[in-house]
């Protein structure tokens, strides 16, 4: 089976180019960039100090945000970083979101807008802090000039500037106008505060976006209302890569509110009506004949066979080796072998895919829940044929992202194709949950074959790891595959330090990736490849430790001598979880550690398994070294969330394929962990203050292996395939 369906990939490549360009060229510190478009209302009364900061006469500090908020707390964290350097009153901070059209017109002064890969804060922290600091310096300079005193004699706190010698004070709001006329300092010359002296950043500030999530006020993209707006429901060919053969519009003639049926890009059919429910009801009644295409015979079984072949195939698609693992394992005193597997997973954001568009001959607008507003803008322009400069995307905070709403923007392409049929009329497209589950970019499926050799003393002398599975790059960004090598799939098992390095040294080691693609679209899913690779590595290491007759922590520690950061996090979690100390009868522990997104994670799980095989997950302790911590309470929230997202997948998550299509299409079959099953989660932050690591994704990868290792401890049997709902534990 090959990936012969390129339509989606073309869309994605385009988006990827935009993202890459922004990453490479958009980070110049254009503090003085003139703003081409009218500022939003929140700024209209404010004096702009630079692109990040504007101040109103009442001392309100407007902090501009270029990244997307999807629940992960990034906008609060970014505001804390700016406010820290600005030395303003945190209570007077408000936020203004930058649109991608404005960013583009300003030559990407605000830098990259894409929000994924746990990069929202760590890759923008430097320039947003400099923006805050530059504004503070100008405000102080303006006060000094007014008072005719050396700026060095001034102090500032909470936006109040003080000259102690003359007992004078003023506020940011009063000097902002004068400050804006000064020449900004060279951003590179600015000395930023030592994070150990932070008073706003680094503290558990309350989120700035909670209040309107409590009373129904918040307008998500799915809630957008525009004058004269029509609504659309859509159904794409359930078999990936299939097309529309025909449909019988006469069968829905006269149904309430229906305007028209639209064929969307040869792959989907949409009904447009006066309300979404009318559109959906008519779509359900519309007979559609599909040309299912070459993917139709595929099933979970054929895909599993395809991957299994890769476990022993001759040629590989990347990896690393040191020593001679085959020989070391063959000659070892004791040998351990296992094959693991993990399924496709859907993102299932609570807010289904949706977008609204209004297209005329010379202007295109879209209202989009997006993790990558610039990719949304590119998709809008490409699909509408309207030049980028005449396009604008109004980005709404997302009802969940998890990697689904990044570069691909398939739903934007669709809504634009529909809205083009109704020039000047806004059209809102909402996917049903079933459509959302049927047409995701799924977490790829993979299998892993492992072998280890132990010497007579139980030391690991050889380890061989082969992952066979689908490639995200092959689907979304083939240009990233160099010479047939796709190292991304081995995330977390890499040799090079700094981002996703394996924390173990083994004298004879082979790690290989074998690409086995399918017709199912794949993409990044919270934690991406670290999820599967951590299950494979950490559960197998547990098997090897047991075969060696050694303690799980001590066995790992022996392999981690050259990885002090990994080790510090492992030690921190073991200590907090009382590793080695007695537990209540029937409760067992498991441990795991891994690295991703430049952060180090470890977890200890406590579980019990009843005589009938019923699993209860009591408690998880997670430790994280993400370098700097911008908001410890929000880091804890992300860790708690990673447990729920990870355990949902471990317990229930799988997207079976039959007749070329997904068969789990709603939460009755794609089950979700609920509150009753949520274990107690304790967070241990181990900040080293020496680098900037990610937060949203790193910890999810240790959740499942820690639980599986605890189950192993409870039952004496390793769990080698997911989800657990199919595994007989006793």
């Amino acid at each position: 089976m090959t990936n012969n369906l390129r339509t989606t990939a073309k869309v994605s490549r385009r988006a990827f180019v935009v993202g890459s360009a922004a990453a490479g060229g958009g980070l110049a510190l254009g503090f003085t960039m003139p703003l081409p478009s009218a500022s939003a209302e929140s700024t209209s009364l404010a004096t702009e100090l630079n692109i990040w900061v504007a101040i109103k006469p009442d001392d309100t500090c407007v902090i501009r945000i270029a990244r997307s908020e999807m629940g992960q707390g990034t906008i609060t964290g970014l505001a804390q970083l700016v406010a820290e350097e600005l030395a303003c009153d945190w209570k007077k901070v408000t936020l203004e979101q930058i649109t991608p059209g404005r960013n583009l017109a300003s030559k990407r002064a605000w830098g990259e807008m894409g929000t994924g890969g746990s990069r929202g804060i760590r890759t923008s922290q430097d320039y947003v802090r400099r923006g805050g600091a530059a504004a503070r310096m100008m405000l102080l300079q303006a006060a000094a000039a007014d008072w005719k005193v050396p700026v060095g004699e001034l102090t500032v706190a909470d936006g109040i500037i003080t000259h102690a010698a003359s007992k004078r004070t003023t506020s940011y709001g009063k000097v902002a106008a004068a400050a804006a006329k000064l020449t900004p300092p060279d951003p590179k010359s600015i000395a930023l505060k030592d994070p150990k002296n932070w008073t706003i950043a680094g503290k558990p500030m309350k989120r700035l976006d909670t209040a309107d999530k409590l009373d129904g006020r918040k307008v998500y993209a799915i809630d957008v209302k525009l004058p004269g707006m029509l609504c659309a429901a859509i159904k794409a060919c359930p078999v990936f890569g299939g097309k529309v053969a025909s449909y019988d519009e006469s069968k829905i003639a006269g149904m309430p509110g229906v305007k028209r049926v639209v064929r969307v890009k040869d792959t989907a059919v949409a009904v447009v009506a006066d309300s979404w429910w009318h559109a959906k009801a008519a779509l359900d009644a519309l007979p559609i004949v599909w040309d299912e295409g070459p993917g139709a015979p595929a099933s979970s079984a054929t895909i599993a066979e395809h991957l299994k072949e890769g476990l022993t195939a001759e040629s590989t698609n990347g990896g690393r080796q040191n020593g001679d693992p085959a020989k070391a394992i063959a000659e070892a005193a004791k040998k351990v072998e296992a094959v693991y597997s993990t399924p496709f997973l859907a993102h299932a954001t609570m807010e289904p895919m949706n977008a609204t568009a209004r297209i005329t001959a010379d202007k295109a607008e879209a209202w989009v829940p997006t993790q990558n507003a610039e990719a949304s803008l590119a998709a809008l322009s490409e699909a509408s044929g309207v030049p980028l400069a005449n396009c604008e995307v109004y980005r709404h905070d997302l009802g969940g992202g998890f990697g689904r709403r990044g570069g691909t923007q398939d739903y934007v392409h669709q809504v634009v194709a529909i809205a083009k049929e109704f020039p000047g009329t806004p059209v809102k497209l909402i996917w049903t949950r079933e459509e959302d589950m049927a047409h995701d970019f799924y977490r790829p499926i993979s299998q892993c074959k492992m072998a280890a050799g132990l010497d007579a003393d139980g030391n690991l002398v050889g380890l061989s790891v082969r992952v066979s599975g689908q490639s995200i790059n092959a689907w979304l960004s083939p240009g990233q595959i160099k010479g047939g090598k796709d190292e991304r799939q081995l995330q977390g098992l890499w040799e090079q330090p700094g981002d996703a390095q394996l924390g173990y040294d083994v004298p004879n080691l082979a790690i290989e990736y074998v690409m086995r693609n399918t017709h199912v679209p794949v993409g990044p899913w919270r934690g991406v490849n670290t999820n599967q690779n951590a299950v494979y590595m950490e559960c197998f290491i547990e098997e090897v430790a047991r075969a060696a007759g050694k303690d799980s922590v001590e066995f790992r520690r022996a392999l981690m001598k050259n990885h002090p950061r990994h080790l510090a996090v492992l030690d921190a979690v073991a200590q907090k979880a009382d590793w080695g100390k007695p537990l209540p009868a029937g409760v067992h522990r498991g441990i795991a550690q891994f690295m991703g997104y430049a952060s180090y994670s470890a977890a200890v799980a406590e579980v019990s398994v009843s005589d009938a095989g019923k699993l209860k997950i009591h408690r998880l302790v997670l430790a994280l070294d993400c370098g700097h911590v911008v908001n410890p309470d929000q880091v804890a929230a992300q860790i708690e969330g990673s447990v729920a997202y990870g355990l949902t997948a471990a317990l229930y998550g799988e997207c079976p394929v039959d007749k070329g299509r997904m068969t789990s299409l709603n939460f009755d079959s794609y089950e979700m962990m609920r509150l009753a099953e949520m274990p107690k989660v304790e967070t241990v932050l181990v900040p080293s203050y020496e680098f900037w690591g990610g937060v949203g994704e790193p910890t999810i990868c240790v959740v499942t292996p820690s639980v599986l290792n605890a189950i192993y401890a409870a039952t004496g049997k390793p769990v080698r395939s997911l989800p657990l709902k199919h595994v007989k534990l006793v």
Partner: protein
């Protein structure tokens, strides 16, 4: 044209009998705080109160609602987000993306009305709405906190956990 009593007001609504109450609320009445998540009463994002009972509005036919039924949506739960559940949600920073939280809050408010001091088991049984961001731990703590409000002391009791 039919009458619908939402948040204390009678509204004239034009809808077919088989239209789900959720879409009547969102598209005919125009209150969008009540969310669509699954359409099959699994996720609870569409939770509203009908005559004081929490119900999943995506799976209730408009034709089955009587003009005398009192429907309360998240917008009508309290004035100025002053319900103890909303105050506790704010104090603990429960929401992440927030999309499911209207439903979670409506479910929690209904629980506390029936069971003012719920145990963890009560919360397990009543709070079955799905949250993909994984705010469950904070939801539990916030329900306990809300239960501690309204005692007249004005103080907020710390969340107590009996869980081992």
């Amino acid at each position: 044209m039919a009458k619908l009593n939402i948040n204390g007001k009678d509204r004239d609504v034009q809808a077919e009998p088989d239209m789900p109450l959720l879409w009547v609320i969102r598209e005919q009445v125009g209150l969008t705080g009540t969310k669509y998540g699954c359409g099959v009463a699994q996720c609870g994002a569409c939770s509203v109160h009908i005559n004081g009972e929490v119900q999943r509005s995506c799976s209730i036919r408009f034709g089955d609602i009587k003009p005398t039924d009192k429907i309360v949506t998240i917008e009508g739960l309290s004035a100025n987000a002053s319900h103890p559940v909303q105050k506790a949600w704010l104090a603990i920073d429960v929401p992440q993306c927030g999309y499911c939280q209207s439903g979670q809050i409506m479910a929690a408010a209904a629980l506390l009305k029936k069971t003012p001091k719920p145990t963890d088991d009560d919360i397990d049984a009543a709070m079955t709405n799905i949250c993909r961001c994984g705010t469950y731990q904070r939801i539990r703590a916030a329900v306990h906190m809300a239960a501690g409000m309204g005692t007249g002391s004005g103080s907020v009791a710390p969340a107590q956990r009996k869980r081992a």
